[in-house]
Structures are given as C-alpha cells and as structure tokens.
Amino acid sequence: MGTERDAGDHPSDVPETPTVQEALDAADAPLDEEPPPPAGTVANLVVAVLVTGLGVATVVSSLALGIGSAREPGAGTWPFALGLVVVVFGLALVAGARRTADAERFPREALGVVAGIGTMVAFTALIGRIGFEIPGALLCFVWLRWLGGEGWRTSVLVSLGIVAAFYAVFVGALGVGVPHLF
C-alpha cells in the first residue's frame, strides 16, 4: 500500500503527502495482500495495438460516412478527427510499452472473473425466456459458493433469499415489468 511506503521512506518519519495516483491506488485495494504483478511488455504492446487498431477502424469507417470539410462538417468529420487522435495515442502507447508498469497480469483468480462473466451472460440469455427467478438464483449461488467461498447451506439460503427479496420489491411492491416466471 502506497501510504505505508511513504510513511517509512521519510527520514524523520513524517509522512510525505501522496500523489493523487497513490491515493487512488491506496483506496482501490486497501485489503489486498500484495499488489498484483505488472503485465509484461507483450501485454502492453497488445493493448497499445488494440487502441491503434480501434483508431484506424474509426478513421476508415468515418471516411465511408463522409468527412466533409471544416466549412461544411459532415457526419464523419468528428469521428474522423477522434480516430486520428486515438491512433496517435495508440502509437504513443506502442512507443512506451516497455516502460509501462500500470497494467496488471492475469492471476489464477482471473478464472473466477471469467466464471462471473459467464453467469451474467447466462442470466442475460435466459431472462427473456424464463424470467429472472431461476437464472438469478443460479447466479447468486455460483457467486456465493464458488466465487465467494461461502458454505453450501449459506449459499443456498442466501441466494433463495435474494431472489425472494427481488421478487417482493420489483414484482410485488414496485410492479415494474421485470420478466418473471411465477
């Protein structure tokens, strides 16, 4: 945590005022045991190339929209200018890929994130067909049992409780049109 390091580095033990960046970092993950290892140059290059590619794609599709002129701006003028700026930033990121230290490596725990995203995608795919209750209960159960490490009994009871509470609030009290099965 940035704050601790600042407090220790100073000879007279008076804490240095952190920068905005350090304050944001310290508040972002105050409970983290250790900061995640930074991503390597290859990952930084991939990100930089993706940004550049987005810029290029924008420029190309703006040309199709018609970029007009300064005197008569067209539908594509503004996106075209933005696309050029994005390309410049992307190239700047490519140039600085070796010195960049603010991207994080994917740890083993990132598999949990993939699972979490999976539950949300499943929820989205199912809610229109069978309502929110079953997908919602399954989502909560996966998040509690496997992503949160809760016990079986807590996971079952809490996920049923959450869905019941949502049913009571959204369908019962507010009467908003959330797709529901029952």
Partner: protein, 513 residues
Amino acid sequence: MDQLTPVLQGFAVVLEPQNLLYCLVGVVVGMLIGVLPGLGPAATIAVLLPLTIGLEPVTSVIMLAGIFYGAQYGGTITSVLLRLPGEASSVVTVFDGYAMACQGRAGKALGIAAIGSFVGGTVSIVALSFVAPVVASFALDFGPPEYTALALLGILLVATVSGGGRVKALAAACVGLLLATVGRDGFTGAQRFTFGDLNLADGIDFVPIAMGLFGLGEILHALEERHRRVQAPPTLTRVWPDRADMRQASGAIGRGSVIGFVLGILPGGGAVLSSLAAYALEKRRSKTPERFGKGAIEGVAAPETANNAAATSSFIPLLTLGIPANATMAVIFGALLVQGVTPGPRLVDEDPELFWGVINSMYVGNILLLIMSIPMVGIFVRVLQVRGAILAPITVMVTLVGVYTVRSSVFDIGLVVAFGVLGYLMKKAGFDPGPLVLAFVLGSLLESNLRRSLLLFDGDPTGFLTRPISGVLFAAFAVVVLLPLTTRLLRGRRGGPRDDDRSGGRPDTKELV
C-alpha cells in the same frame, strides 16, 4: 429581496417529506459505501440510477448528492479506526487519524473530522449559493465556441488528474467521445456505427455504460483480489474534542474549507486532490511539522474539511455550466439527462426549485451526517462485518435487473454486461473508466457545439482563438497540455527520478498548493 425568494422556496422544496426522506436515504447509503472499501460513490450512484427514474428530478438529485458527500464522511471512519481508507479522499487522514486512534484518541479524531466536514460543507454551500448564480449569469452569453472550449478543457483536466497513465486516460476519453457518436447524427440524419442494429439507432443509453463500467467493472475486478481479513476495530473511547482541540484545529478547518471549495470547482479537482492539498499545506505551515503522522489533530481536520467542501463545490460547474467536474458528477449529470433536465446556465432561472432544492438539501444532509457520525459511529463500524462475498451477488442482481427496468430492454442487460467486461479489462490494462464516462456524457454536446462553431466561423478554426472567452479557455488547454511535457523534458535533462507512464508528469500536490 427578490433574489432571496427562490432560495427560500428551495427550503420549502427540501422540507417536503419525500425529499427529506430521500436526503436521509442518500446520506445513509453514502456513509455505508464510504465505510465499505471497494465500491466508490461513482459506482454506487451508477448502480442506483434505475431507482431514480420513478422519482421527481429534484428528489433523485437530492438523494444522489447525499450519497456523494455522505461517502466523504464515511470514508473517515475506517481510515481512523482501521487504517483502511474507504475512499481515495480519505487516504491522507490515515496518517494522523490512525495514530490518534492508537493513542486512544479515536473519538477525538472522528469528532474533529465530523465537525470539520460539517463546517467545510456548510461554508461551501453558502459560497456556492452566492457564486453559482453569478457563474450562471456570466455563462448565459456563452455560445457554441465557448462550450466547445469548456467541454474540451473539462475532459482534458479530468483525464489529467485521474488514475492510470495520462495517455491512457486521454485515450479512454476519446473512446467515450466515440461511443457518444453511435446512432443517428443530429445534423445529417446519417446512421453512425450502428452496424445495422436497430437497438443502436438511437444511440447508446448512458445508464448501461455507467452501471457497467463503474458498477460491474469494479465488482469483477474485486473478484480476483485476495482479501486480508478485516481486523476488529479498536474499542471506541468516548473522548470527544475539547476546547483545546478545537482551538488547535480551527485554523486547519478554515483553510481546508477554502482549499476544498476552490479546488472542488476546478474540473478534475474534486475531493481527492483537495484533501491532499489541504494536508500538505497544514504540514508546511505548521511550526512543528514533526508532529504530523504521529497524531496531529490538524492532519485529520484539514483533509476531512477540504474533501467535504470540495464535494459540495464540485456541483457549481455541473449546475451552472452543465459541465461535470469529475466522474461522480458525470453520473449525476447522466441522471439529470435521463430525467429530461439539461443542466446549464439557464437552470437557475428555468428550474429554480431544482437548483435551490438540491443546494439547500445539502444543509440538511450535513446536519444529518453530523448527527450520524458522532453518536452512531459504532453502528457503521459494524457494517464492515458484512462479508463482501454476500454483497457482490446482490450488487450484480441490482445492476442486471435495475438496468432492465429503465427501458424494459433485454438488450440493455447485454450492454451492461458488455460494459462491465470492458470496465474490468480497462482496469487490468491501466485505463481509468472515469474519463470515458465523463467524455461520453459530454460527447454530443461537444460535437454539436464544435460543428455549430465551425459553421459560425465559416470553417475557420482560428475563430476559436479570437473570441475572448473561448480564446482564454483554449490557452488554458494549451498550458495543461504543454506544462507536463516541459517538466518532463527538464526532468529528463537533469536525469531526474523515474519517469515511466505511471508517474510521468502527474501533478504533484505540492506544486498545487
């Protein structure tokens, strides 16, 4: 007396039972999320956006504002008791606040923080009441070129003072501006970047973007963090600040109020920067700087006063110019747009009930927070025992079901999940989603004003520089761009400290004081 009438009517709006209730709800939620590390005020407000749809505009903004400044109070509690800053704006409070708690003076630290927050907030509201109408009347003369300059400067400043590298923040802002172009072009009627999808024909809605990037993105990112157990908070001693403490802290509270108010107005300034600046100033002014970090009461009073004053004054650019000063204000701006209210210089005249209702609600909110933070602090500390594992799926469900209720659209659920994934990946790659969201809400305003300006100038871009106000704003823009580049060059010549993307040219608080 004529000018006072709308102000007094604003109090009548605040005292309506519904508004009082939502003010209370807002500050309680704000306190809670301030105490809980992880979800910040911008994310919370984003996740609760659907809840505000059914409310009156003034009621919803009263609640959302309460969340924002309530979080400044809540962040203090964990900083002092547990050495865990709940919010970035309370990070410096950790130094002296935790030291005071270790010396058995936790009650004094929390008491002075609450009093300072109350004074800072109140001073800021009074100043806001006088300054805002003046700024608004000045801004009535603003034309498209001035708005173009203002929006560009606002986005640049927010990107400059945000987390992550500067180039990445600016790239994220550009992506936000690009996302705002999706849909039908207001000038030519052409479909842009819709890929033939009817759901995109009217553009991307603000709600799924904010909820996805801020809400789901943060939750997903938190999934891969290995958490340390929260230790039990020390027993709270019932020793409140006495007369001597008050005398010692009064100067810090006074200066903190001014710093907070001024920095809060600046785009990108806000609560974090002002708390750091106020702390640095107190340490520099002090005759005994060695006490700092060892339980100096000014070290708690100054940043806590300043962050609250800044949270309040950051409403000025939003309510008078229609330019949000930080990510949280961008979400409140979006909430107003969803309600059909466009904030800007005409707001104070056209919708005085909303304008003064929101401002005056902050007096009430600050009083409520003062009451809650001193005697009821024990209750909020207990909130820390709620496990994150249980809160996470609830937040996910609120987001997924909530976003559906806004437009009854399953497509929007897909969109919020997609932006949640994007938000997670952005955080992994070192891109702050804040500038993206802020740029998105300003995107259509910026583009339409730029195009109107170009038509006005007959295609001659030097027209921006010859008009006095837009000229000054563009000059400020140039300074913000060039200043860090020159410092970087100078530093490089001297073979100075590490100059990677992370620290490169970031404004140091010491330079700003």
